[in-house]
Amino acid sequence: MSTAAVHSLWTTAADPISRIQAPKIEYGQLSPTLIVIGAALVGVLIEAFVPRASRYYAQVFVSVVALAAAFAAVVALAADGYGTTKAHIAAMGAIAVDGPSLFLQGTILLAGLLGVFTFAERRLDPAAHGNRVDSFAAQAASVPGSESEKAAMKAGFTTTEAFPLLLFAVGGMLVFPSANDLLTLFVALEVFSLPLYLLCALARRKRLMSQEAAVKYFLLGAFASAFTLFGIAMLYGYAGSVSYARIAQVVEGTVTNVDPALANTMGNDVLLLIGAAMIAMGLLFKVAAVPFHMWTPDVYQGAPTPVTGFMAAATKVAAFGALLRLLYVVLPGLRWDWRPVMWAVAIVTMLGGAIVAITQTDIKRMLAYSSIAHAGFILAGVIATTRDGVSSVLFYLAAYSFVTIGAFAVVTLVRDAGGEATHLSKWAGLGRRSPLVAAVFAVFLLAFAGIPLTSGFAGKFAVFKAAAEGGATPLVVIGVISSAIAAFFYVRVIVLMFFSEPRPEGPTVAVPSPLTMTAIGVGVAVTLALGVAPQYFLDLASQAGVFVR
């Protein structure tokens, strides 16, 4: 750094305070995020001040109201035209309020709402010492098997902190797909990741496994974040700014005024390519694309099942949203560089997820690999780089998140003495004993497999169509082959449930409270509605399919 530059730094810092202008924040347009974060803070206060006995009710109430209010705010913004004509960049260039943002925020909020319902379920586990308990540990800090754990259980503690943690995660996820500069992106990434790491560790049963999953998720997540941060630094070095718009301009070569301090690095394409690849890697980690998927089965299996369902749905929505914005807004000028790479990732993700799922024997692990395969299908839509590509991905994400939450909610119902019976062999003959639950699960499996008249078919059709029209026909062929492989393990579960003899000491199906029933019912209803009459929602996604720049 030259002396002149050092001097300029000093003088900048020494400038009178009045030179810093107060930022202009459009509170109304950011209200969905603000409501959720505010409610999360209220949740923290509830933990501190409300008596233990009534915390659960207060937390559930605050969470449901906040998520519903935030969803209403999203709808109001969309109705006001912020998704289409009035789309713009708010909060001094940090947050984009546009169609994809609002669509994904709405999806995340609904997924969060259903997530709260499954979090709040207290009828599945048998009451411990006369206290109703949910899926979360009595006291997360106590060592598994220790005296303090037993004391906590006897006292009827529950980890009601799960609800504010979920709200913080949702808050981060709302910002993630709408972040319009790299720093906001990174902050949002951490804001939603850290609560998820914690939530993963909170299982009431099999606590060691749950904590192991959380530690793995945290370590690998931190590792991936480091890559992302490094990539952000490189892009800053390349463009002299973290703003999406500014980086895009530099990529397209339309920038004239160059900061002299960065003159050496600016416009260096190697920095751009490495930086872009590293940020993309961080996002691909979150969506569980091969080869950054290794955490997924372990974490999905170890985390409390309601957390798995919420995380599988909402994280994917948020991360794909951010990936779309990165590729479509920041790097469209780099399309010819990233498309082949994404092709490769999509192919190994689709095939890898589908193939490894075949030999899984645990239902949660199987669904984890299934979610990896689905990440591949969605990537096929991302690669289309057309407006149809965006809208098909939006539609797929909405459809997928409802199926996922519903499917994991069903998993919580099938139980034996050791809690949830997740080993596949225990599901044999479930259709004989509980035809309704088995039928509902079959609907979700058919939707995962992409059978017509379910949302899975409409979504898959949309992304493959967009990919084919975007010139990625070989990708579509591989996608269809992977779908065929994937259909095997979905249908196998259906066969197992309906055409095998039930085991004598097999699991029972617990009768849930209306909360879980609502989550499952909404899942089924949306799955069938999007399958029978997808056009309205496809149109909605299509309207929302334009990014503001």
Binding site: V215, K216, L219, L220, F223, A224, F227, D269, V270, L273, I274, A276, A277, M278, A280, M281, L284, F285, V290, P291, F292, M294, W295, P297, D298, W336, D337, W338, P340, V341, A344, V345, G352, I355, V356, A357, I358, T359, Q360, A458, F461, K465, I485, F488, V532, A533, P534, Q535, Y536
Partner: protein, 648 residues
Amino acid sequence: MDNLIALLIAAPLLGAAVLLCGGRRLDAAGHWIGTALAAASFVLGVVLFGDMLGKAADHRTVTQHLYSWIPVGGFQADVTFRLDQLSMTFVLLITGVGSLIHLYSVGYMEHDERRRRFFGYLNLFLAAMLLLVLADNYLLLYVGWEGVGLASYLLIGFWQHKPSAATAAKKAFLVNRVGDMGLSIAIMLMFTTFGTFAFAPVFADVARTGEGKLTAIGLMLLLAACGKSAQVPLQSWLGDAMEGPTPVSALIHAATMVTAGVYLIVRSGAIFNAAPDARLAVTVVGAVTLLFGAIVGCAKDDIKKALAGSTMSQIGYMVLAAGLGPIGYVFAIMHLVTHGFFKAGLFLGAGSVMHGMNDEVDMRKYGGLRKYMPITFVTFGLGYLAIIGFPGLSGFFSKDKIIEAAFAKGGTEGWILGGAALLGAAITAYYMTRVMLMTFFGEERWRNRATASPQEPDVEPAAEHHGEHAEPHPHESPKVMTIPMIVLAFGSVFAGGIFSIGDRFVHWLEPVTGHSEGHSPVSAMTVTAATLVLLVVGVAIAYAQYGRRPVPVVAPRGSLLTRAARRDLLQDDFNHVVLVRGGEHLTRSLVYVDHTLVDGAVNGTAASVGGLSGRLRRLQNGYARSYAVSMFGGAAVLVALTLLMRAV
């Protein structure tokens, strides 16, 4: 008003959903819910009918577009309904007769534990049948077509604990599959030919299409009609379908569903008009079936199977008329409606007789029942007079018009078809008189018989409530059953006259189907006179055989033709030898190929994918450190690939 069309279907569909998903808590009220929703659909139908009458004849067609199911390029799968005079006629018939039969079933199924489910299926049938006749394109029609097939399957096999009922349901389903295949091929042909399957554009494009393609489409539509309407060669399922509860036989297998084939042909009139060869095939099928069914009906001792033969024969008349083209379409539909009244009435009468006779179906064990069941006797008798074409009653008008139209086709064909239709009328008079005499007249053959001859093994379950071996105590059925019979009897008597006087029905349907008078080589009066003479001959022969002589309780061996007719003219033997055996040989050889070649390839692929899966799975070893290495490697490859893309 026009936006209410969907509600016609929605009401019974809602009923089906509520009754089938509602569970046992609806057991007490389920049958009334089902009946009320059927009636609601009927009331709405009447309201729409009134609205339609208020419009000029040429502006009565209304459509309602509900939504498009994934429009892809040129493939437009619309859920659109079309209500014109033709579908209006069907809506009123389906919902009207349907509501009456719902009401009747309240009494008939009173002792059945699964009555709620029965009404759910009946509502499902109504919804599917209404969808079929209200669809504005062939694809949506196909949805309804399959829906009625499903409902028919479920209802024939409703008493699934009886192996005969389960088998009959399966048979109906399989035979119908052949016809359904015809319809799906026809729809595919339409799509490749016209690029659409909506009615209006297809019919508009007919003029610009080659006759060969139209003939192919027409023949495939005929195959579909043969399956659904039990026409030769796909007729074999209808007789066995009588295993279902009697209200089902009345509604589905007499009045409505089996006439769907006639609807399909009349609706596709524009295609058939331009394909004379397909039309000829339709008339041949109709003429053959009307004789086939009538002969089978003569030999059956099971009252429902005799009526089933009659249904087949009467639908043969309709198909014959529909095959005649514009001179016949209107009369096909007119006969369809009058037949809906009197055949439903006859079936309900038969059900009422069975209800009073411990579910006995063998007419040789009936006799002299008119004293014990006066209302059933009178309503059945009026239906009888209507079906044989007694002057002034419904069947007289509608059947006579078809016979006239057959002669009016002209040439040798006209003479053959007209002659067949005339002969059919005589046989109809014969077998229906036989049914009437064996059931309601003659000595009371059911007395002192019950202990001597044990019950048939396949008694209907309601028999349990009467005691297995007791002598039957014939009695009149409750009001909830007789009222529908009386209403239908009114239809049997007056509908034909109301339709025919002043050619009302012709003017009503003409805007949709078109109509032309043929040039008959014989005058209408001559045809009517000949019909009446043959009617008297048929009745007289039956009276000589069954009225003057006592009816033996055990059927005599009978002539070769009688024995063949008892076996449905060897239809099942034919199917078994030609289709089943042939099919078995074909499948066996295909199975061999499948096992050796196809399975080899498939299992090989599956095994290799499975093996790959097993190997890849080992990478997932549970150590965070190796996951991190994999991520690091992945990131390195990602960066390297990105840089490489720029380099090349």
